[in-house]
Amino acid sequence: MNNLEKVLKKQPKKWIINLIFVLAVLAAIVYSFAGSHINWTRFNTVGISLRIMIEGLGSINTDFLLGTGIYQFEEGVVYLALETLAIAFLGTLIGAVLAVPFGFLAAKNIVGKKVARIGEAVLVLIRVFPEIILALILVKGFGVNALTGVLTIGLHSIGMIGKLFSETIENMDRSSIEALESEGADTLTKIRYGILPQLMSDLSSITLYRLDINVRSATVLGIIGAGGLGASLILAAENWNWDILGTIMISIIVMVLLVDAVSGYLRNKLL
């Protein structure tokens, strides 16, 4: 018996670390609420706010939707949604194309450790900028329009796609290349039949995933005027115009769900 009790005492006490971790996080959260100036009385108005919101959301402003009546076509949701999609699509395309060289430059098994580190650092630098900040900067150079949106998303995507792509390159499966080598294939053939198929399918998958996210970003970028739904959104929000807001929100949801579905479907077919 005693022997077993000794064994029990020797048990690694992992639960202490877990407990400390959990307590620390809880403490941080409590501090977040206590240390900030939160106006808890605002919760009283939640009921009224909710009613206003739901009333507004329920009524879709068809004029605004289609760009008829008092709205220009270009101000209509249909046009804006398409513009948002355009920004997302083109930005992702640019990002994907440019991510290829950057990805190779950041892959240790292609350019060697030293150069790869620099490549990685460049990608990290691009990625660390929140898109909105990038947009604010680019707006100065390219104006408050959709072009800025495309460039912002493009630049950000180079960073995002580039990183995932470089990881794909580094984790590349060598077996098919070895098989080709043993058949006596030359370098070009090895690239064409061994490397390219793997990389391209992975790149497509990464890009589709990114496109999905970029559509959401594109709607947001409009906030600072970079085109798309965001601009109308912020205007409506500032005036608490709930039916317009509702129309926009519903169209955003529909658009994103659609892109989600298509993107998911395509990615499954790729796998």
């Binding site: 106006n39 919101m53 355009a86 660390v128």
Partner: protein
């Protein structure tokens, strides 16, 4: 399509390589979408970019470099707000996601009529960009940290639920069966067989989402939800140097959080 006839007389049809079709579609889409982007050369002033950089990263007027860095120090408070907001929102949203993820996992509830509706509602929540959530939150509770926490919590909830139920669906259920055979009820069996498998993933995802939220809190502040974003918005008209300082601080923090995140998550594997 090409038909091949082999020596035994059988024929095989080789379909057209789909790649060309895909490239064609992309080309067409590119052309169509480009129509939406009107480029007015008069709007493009690249020189402005360089001027902007100078304004951002040099002290304005009669302020000195000392002032520049001193301002960075005053950013401690909004920065703290950003981090606290992100942390609280991430944890609350992630924890709330757990029961919903369990309910939406195909291998737990098994009844299509139960998990599809749950998943659908969550998908809707997920499609709403964080910014929009922040706007709504501001409408409900006013500007400030609270709306930021709510927005982040909702956003985290959406992402965590999806990531979590995907993990739960791939979990090894054999130990669940074994525990049921010892007489445990479903809840207990779940706690001892499924939870140990998903717990590390949960923590890993939570840190990843936290990283994302620190990054997006910049924009959240822009619409009034608190944090560094508010600083940027307040200063964007006249004090570019302060905006630049805020940007630098933000970048450093994001980088730091990224390193921390990568480090801890690699340890968890």
């Amino acid at each position: 399509m090409r038909k091949f006839t082999v020596s035994s007389g059988k024929t095989v049809v080789k379909p057209i390589n789909k790649i060309w079709f895909i490239l064609l579609v992309i080309l067409i889409l590119t052309v169509i979408f480009s129509l939406f982007i009107r480029i007015d050369p008069r709007n493009i002033r690249i020189g402005e970019l360089f001027i902007l950089f100078e304004k951002l990263f040099t002290p304005k007027g009669n302020r000195t470099w000392g002032d520049y860095f001193a301002f960075m120090l005053t950013l401690r408070e909004p920065l703290g707000e950003t981090l606290k907001m992100s942390l609280a929102g991430t944890v609350i949203g992630s924890l709330a996601a757990v029961p919903f993820a369990i309910l939406s996992a195909k291998n737990i509830l098994k009844n299509k009529f139960l998990y599809y509706p749950v998943r659908f509602v969550i998908n809707i929540v997920r499609t709403i960009p964080a910014l929009l959530l922040a706007l709504i939150a501001v409408f409900f509770v006013g500007t400030g940290v609270l709306s930021g926490i709510i927005a982040i919590a909702l956003f985290s909830f959406g992402i965590m639920t999806k990531m979590l139920y995907e993990v739960i669906e791939t979990v090894d259920m054999t130990s669940f069966e074994a525990l049921e055979s010892t007489g445990a009820n479903k809840i207990v069996a779940f706690r001892f067989s499924v939870i140990p498998q998903i717990a590390p993933m949960f923590v890993s995802y939570m840190i990843y989402i936290f990283e994302m939220n620190v990054r997006s809190s910049a924009i959240l502040g822009y619409v009034g939800a608190g944090g560094i974003g508010t600083t940027i918005k307040d200063n964007i008209l006249y004090n570019y140097d302060r905006v630049g300082a805020a940007i630098i601080v933000m970048l450093v923090v994001i980088l730091g959080v990224q390193f921390f995140s990568n480090f801890v998550r690699s340890k968890l594997q």
